[in-house]
Symmetry: C2
C-alpha cells in the first residue's frame, strides 16, 4: 500500500525520525497516455492527473509536508488566506492531524458554496471587512506572533512536497519526459517540478531534464507580459493570479531548462478542457491550460516527432461543476417516445 | 505504477490474452485508519475511500471489466439507464475505449446538472417520454437486438471488477478484517465484496472471512423490511433504491458470513457524513451509511474489543456539493474588522 509522498520519498524530504507524518496517502496519481491527443498532434502526450489526490488537487502534496512540519514545531492552528484548493487541503490535513484550520477571506467577495469542501472538513471561516491583500497580510502577521502556522504558498515546505510529482513522472516513464507542461498561477508548482527533476537527476534516478513549459491564462499573464496584472481575469480561477509569488523561480525554470512561459486564451483552455474529458479525464478548467498550451505549441511546429510531453492536470473537474455546465458541454438532451424503436433511431441517427 | 484492477488481479479476472483492457488505473484506493472514530467507539475503524477512483466512485472497478469485455465482444456502443455514478463511469470508460456511451433517462425527472460529469466525458443523453422502469426496459431490449452493450448492474462483469476492492482490503491489512460494513442500495457491491473475500480465502491470500454488515437507508430499506419500497426516499441518493437487483445475494452474504443487513435513518447518515469529514475524508452522503450503521451497532454493544471494522465509502463528496451546503455544515462565517487583533480574537475566542 502506498504510504504517502513523505514516506515513499523520505530520502528527498526535509523530515527526521521526530517528524510526525500527517498523511492522507496523497500522491501516486495516474499518468495517462492521451491516445487521441497524441494522434491528433503527432507527438506523444501524457496526462498527470493530480485531481485524484485525497482532496482533489496537487495541493495535498505540499500540505502533507507543511502540516507535518507544523505539528513537529508544536503549532495548534493552521491558517491561510485562500478560497480554493489550498484551503481544502489545509482543512483536510488539519482534521487528520487533530489541529484547527482557519481560513481568512474578504467579506462578501466569496460565495461560501465554493468553500463547501473546506467547511465540511471542519475549517473555521473568518471574513474580514477588507480585501484579499489585507487577508494575506493579516494571516502573515498572526502566524508570526501566535502558535499559528501559515500554510499559504510562502510556506517553504509546500514546494518540498510538490516536487514529488516530478519523481513519480520519472518513475512511471523510466526517465524524465522531453517536456513538462504545467499551468502557471502563483508559479509554485512549476518551481516545485523543476526542483524535483533536478534532484532526481542529481541522484541519478533520471538521466535527463525536461524542458519546462509553463502556461498562464492570457487575462492574468503577469510573467509573459512582464508586469503584475492588477485585475486578473480568466475562467481558470485556480490560476487567476496577477502577481505570482514564485515569479522569478518560474522564469528561471523556463530559462534554465530551455523551455518557455507562454499564455493561452480562455477559449483555448475550454477547448482543451473538453478534449481532456474526451480522453476519459475530468479536470478543473485551470488544469487544461497545460494541454491548451501544448496544442498551441504543437500547431506552431514546436515539437519534434520523438518528443514525449507530460501535461500536468492540477485538479479534479468535480470541484467546478458550474464551468462544466456553463462552458464545457452541450446540455441539451434529445427527447424521444418511450419505445425501443425511437431510442435505437436516436442512437444510430 | 499501478496498472488498474484487471492487470493487478488478472488471475482472478475473467479475461484472456485477447481481452483489450480498457482502464483508467482504477482501484488502489486508500484505506485510512479513522483515529477519532476508533477512539470514540472503542473499536478499530478503517475507511476504504472509493471516492478516489478515476471518476469518483467504486463503479469504476466494475466498469473497467464491463467495458473491456464489451470491446472484446465487438460492441461499439455502451448503454445504461442511470443518473448517477454508473453513467459517469460508463461515459469515462467509453471515452477511453473510443466507444460511444448512451444514457437513457426519463424526461423531466432529472436535472441535467446531475449529469454534468457524464456529459463532459462525451456521453449522449436520451430522454424518453416515460418513467425510469421504461428506460430500464428499453435499454435491455436495445442491447439484445443491436451491437450495444448494457452496462447497468445486470451486466455480470461489473461484480467481477468490484470484488477487487475486497482483495485490496486484505492486501493492505494482511488479512480480512473481522467486519466489512457497506452501504446497500442495489446490493451489487456487498455481493461483490463477499465474492472477493471468498475467492481470496480459497486462494489462501486471507486466512479468514469477515462478517458482512450491509446498511440500507430506512426510507428505502427493502431487504430489512422484507418487501420492495414503491416510493423510496432518502437523502443518500446513491442508495435510494426500492427493489435491489442483488437482493437475494446480499441477504445470503449477510447470512453466510454471520453478519446482518440493517438500516439507518437519514439523520444518522448525515451525522456520520460529518464525522467522516472530521477524519479528513469527504465522501458522498450515501457512503456514510456504512459508518452510520457501525456507530449504531457499536452503541448497542455489537462489537468486541479486538474487532477490526472496515467501512466502505463508495463515492467522492465532491459529487454532491448541494448536500454539503444544505445538510452537512454550518455555512455561517464570522465577520470581523480587518485587523490582526480581531482575527486573533476570533481564532482563539
Amino acid at each position: 500500500m502506498w504510504r504517502g509522498i513523505v514516506e515513499e520519498y523520505r530520502e528527498f524530504m526535509p523530515v527526521t525520525d521526530n517528524t510526525p507524518v500527517v498523511t492522507l496517502y496523497e500522491g501516486n496519481t495516474p499518468l495517462y497516455k492521451a491516445e487521441k491527443l497524441s494522434g491528433q498532434l503527432g507527438v506523444e502526450i501524457w496526462l498527470k492527473f493530480e485531481g485524484l489526490n485525497p482532496t482533489g488537487s496537487f495541493k495535498d502534496r505540499g500540505m502533507t509536508m507543511a502540516v507535518s512540519k507544523a505539528k513537529e514545531e508544536g503549532a495548534e492552528v493552521l491558517i491561510c488566506a485562500s478560497t480554493g484548493n489550498t484551503s481544502a487541503a489545509a482543512a483536510a490535513y488539519a482534521a487528520r492531524a487533530g489541529m484547527k484550520a482557519v481560513v481568512v477571506i474578504p467579506h462578501g467577495k466569496v460565495a461560501l458554496g465554493k468553500l463547501a469542501q473546506t467547511i465540511m472538513y471542519g475549517a473555521e471561516i473568518i471574513e474580514i471587512e477588507g480585501n484579499f491583500d489585507e487577508a494575506l497580510s493579516i494571516v502573515r502577521q498572526v502566524s508570526e506572533t501566535h502558535p499559528v502556522k501559515l500554510v499559504n504558498s510562502v510556506n517553504p515546505y509546500r514546494i518540498e512536497g510538490q516536487k514529488t510529482a516530478a519523481f513519480e513522472v520519472c518513475d512511471d516513464l523510466g526517465e524524465a519526459p522531453t517536456h513538462l507542461a504545467i499551468p502557471v498561477g502563483n508559479a509554485g508548482n512549476i518551481t516545485a517540478y523543476w526542483k524535483g527533476f533536478n534532484e532526481y537527476r542529481r541522484h541519478r534516478r533520471s538521466g535527463k531534464l525536461p524542458k519546462m513549459l509553463g502556461f498562464e491564462a492570457s487575462g492574468s499573464a503577469a510573467i509573459v507580459k512582464g508586469h503584475p496584472i492588477e485585475h486578473p481575469e480568466t475562467i481558470a480561477t485556480a490560476i487567476r493570479i496577477g502577481n505570482p509569488a514564485s515569479w522569478q523561480q518560474a522564469a528561471d525554470a523556463a530559462k534554465d531548462s530551455k523551455g518557455k512561459i507562454d499564455m493561452v486564451e480562455d477559449e483555448e483552455i475550454l477547448a482543451a478542457y473538453r478534449l481532456i474529458a474526451a480522453e476519459g479525464v475530468f479536470c478543473e478548467p485551470a488544469s487544461a491550460a497545460s494541454v491548451a498550451g501544448v496544442i498551441k505549441l504543437a500547431n506552431s511546429g514546436y515539437f519534434s516527432e520523438n518528443d514525449r510531453v507530460v501535461c500536468v492536470l492540477t485538479g479534479n473537474g468535480l470541484k467546478d461543476p458550474d464551468t462544466a455546465m456553463n462552458h464545457g458541454i452541450n446540455v441539451e438532451a434529445r427527447v424521444v417516445p418511450a419505445t425501443e424503436e425511437a431510442v435505437v433511431k436516436a442512437i444510430f441517427k
